[in-house]
């Protein structure tokens, strides 16, 4: 009898609790997943921006959840949607767009941005940063933490080797010649990472040789194009022929430390590492655009904002507000200064904060200046598999298991099989 009373009382309390919380939440609640793929206290900066947003928008409650790297963020977001507890928006890889469309997970911004003001806002971003997010005639992703590859170099090592520290290598030949002068016992001329995101680094080399890796519809790849093969041969020759780079694969996660500890004079890395390198470098360092062959070139990289499909009208409006806030010129400037990522619009670079920062630290402008030589990052249907095919081919060539030509032809053959269904 007592037991039945206890159960009755408990269930009343629970019901009351649920009812009261339902009445209390006139607020719109947003859950946002975001990844961090570079060094530095980025989660603190995101939390700061979100707190500022909540102050200005008291009826929107934002839970920003750090989700690991780009793969983890995508997996977590999709798993949450499948489980029914969705997030409303997320920052995910700019190149996840085709997979997300195939999973019917996202809605295009072009469909929500109905007012004149919204359309103007969509047009305010750098066009190079919109390439990966635009397909099927619509805009699916809005830039947030975008980057290009830049070449960090140790000015003191340049001086020691008798090179002008204000003249980093401008082209492939200079990279090799200067690299040779900079390589000695305990020190390498240059390091290009070949784990983590080898296809990204390779996209730069291919563009510099005048080729792209895929078409803009995501249905064709060009891995066995003659110029693409030449780019991989050059990468391999840096270690095998010119000996300015270590043999085998070079680890993405430890490369920054290698540079900071003086084991390499130059490193190719994301501009998102800029602020961390700046804080931790005990030597004078510079940042330069990547060297050219036929032209300068770099892929864009990083993450865009996406809005999920399983969202209510109110949640979409709130998400738009949050995204506009996070990508506003002032906040984009804050983000860029705190991380090294590129400011996402021309207006971001017109803000006083960013202009002063660049005056004191001109390196911060290199990535943005390089945008005019930028190309879209490797992105196709079945992007995960295709990316792995290219990654495996690059690594096989660099460790000497296959010749660059054989590796790339193999990858292209397999990629064509995968994409046949989409033609």
């Amino acid at each position: 009898m007592v037991k039945k009373m206890k159960i009755a009382v408990l269930s009343c309390l629970v019901a009351g609790g649920i009812l009261s919380s339902a009445v209390a939440s006139q607020k719109t609640e947003l859950t946002m997943y975001y990844p961090v793929a570079v060094g530095g206290p980025l989660t603190k900066i995101v939390d700061g921006l979100v707190a500022d947003f909540e102050k200005v928008n008291p009826n929107i409650d934002v839970k920003a959840i750090y989700a690991g790297n780009y793969n983890d963020a995508r997996i977590k977001s999709l798993a949450a949607i499948k489980a029914g507890e969705s997030a409303q928006l997320a920052v995910m890889f700019s190149i996840d767009v085709y997979d997300l469309i195939e999973q019917d997970a996202i809605i295009p911004f072009s469909d929500i941005a109905n007012t004149q003001e919204d359309k103007k806002w969509l047009n305010s971003f750098y066009p190079a940063l919109m390439e990966n997010g635009t397909t099927l005639g619509k805009i699916w992703g809005v830039p947030f933490q975008r980057s290009t590859i830049v070449m960090y170099y140790n000015k003191e090592m340049f001086k020691e080797a008798g090179l002008n520290p204000e003249q980093p290598p401008k082209n492939w030949d200079e990279l090799v010649n200067m690299g040779k002068k900079l390589t000695k016992k305990g020190q390498w001329g240059t390091m290009i990472p070949s784990t983590g995101y080898p296809y990204w680094m390779f996209g730069a080399l291919a563009k510099q040789n005048g080729a792209t890796l895929m078409d803009s519809d995501g249905k064709k790849t060009f891995f066995d194009n003659k110029k693409v093969i030449e780019a991989l041969e050059y990468w391999k020759d840096l270690s095998a022929k010119y000996h300015i780079m270590p043999e085998g694969t070079i680890e993405w996660g430890t490369l920054r430390k290698n540079f900071l500890e003086g084991k390499t004079a130059m490193m190719w890395h994301s501009t998102g590492n800029l602020t961390t390198v700046k804080k931790n470098a005990k030597f004078d360092f510079g940042v330069a655009m990547l060297p050219a062959k036929e032209m300068r070139g770099t892929p864009t990289g990083g993450g865009n904002f996406y809005i999920f499909k399983k969202t209510t009208e109110a949640e979409r409006k709130a998400s738009m507000k949050l995204i506009k806030f996070m990508t506003s010129p002032e906040n984009s400037a804050k983000w860029s200064i705190g991380t090294g990522y590129i400011g996402v619009s021309e207006d971001a670079y017109k803000t006083q904060a960013l202009q002063e920062y660049i005056k004191s630290f001109p390196e911060a402008q290199v990535a943005k200046d390089q945008l005019k030589f930028a190309t879209a990052e490797l992105s196709t249907y079945q992007t995960g598999r295709i990316r792995k095919l290219l990654d495996d081919a690059i690594q096989a060539a660099l460790i000497g298991k296959k010749s660059p030509e054989a590796a790339l032809r193999d990858a292209q053959e397999k990629a064509e099989k995968l994409l046949r269904a989409y033609q």
Partner: protein, 287 residues
Amino acid sequence: MKHLYGWLLLMPAFTLLVMFTHYPAIATLLDSFYTNGTVIRPKLFVGFDNYSFMLDDEVFITTLKNTMYFALGTVPLAIILSLIMALFVNQKIRGKGIVRLAYFTPTILPMVAVANIWMFFYAPQIGLVNKVIEFLGFTSINWLGNSNTVLEALMVMTIWKEAGFFMIFYLAALQSLPKELYEAAKIEGASSWKCFWQITFPLVMPTTFFIMINAMLNAFKLVDHLFILTKGGPDNASNLLLYYIYETAFSFFDYAYAATLTVVLLLILILVSLLQFSVLEKRIHYK
């Protein structure tokens, strides 16, 4: 009535077992007979097509080879090392407690933390291992970036992590051995080597068997370090079956193929367990 009571007592455990073990296993098996369904293209029944695709998949063959090699490399060495450690700390030495703690510490650390630490141990120019190698006058080796050394490097790290855990079991077994046997052996003039092989080793066989099963399962289950250290590279040289399953399911979104691979993994584990239970159990002396 008695039967009903018995079934009711079984119900909770039985429900959980079915929900989390049997039902998923059968669902996976069924999934492997269909193509992958996306929202745009719904799934179709294709029978054994996924399996024939799998047999043609070079990456699958490579992961299978790697996993077998990894298991063969880690299991015997982990057993031997943990037995030696247990014999060592079972003696009356000073600081016995501290040595036992030191041996057990790797087990307490989460695998992801261990992997992050060892990434810097193995790093070519700045890592601890290579700094020692260079101090001794040799050139540094790219342990994780070279397909000839990557699996071996991972095995060393895995054994380092596991041995302490297995040592505890051996220690408990050793301490439960009756001392009269050793006294009798000493009276008969047996050397310590003979003591070990004729008395200790046979009597701890049940523990050895238990550890062998655990180490074998770990060799298939533990892939956390791959996420941090190599992501299966370079060029699939360190790709293990479970990691490939994860990649297929969550990076490639190919759930049907991942189900196929999972069925294979399950079959291998069942076979290995059956083998161990039938062949080896006959040789074990239980009290």
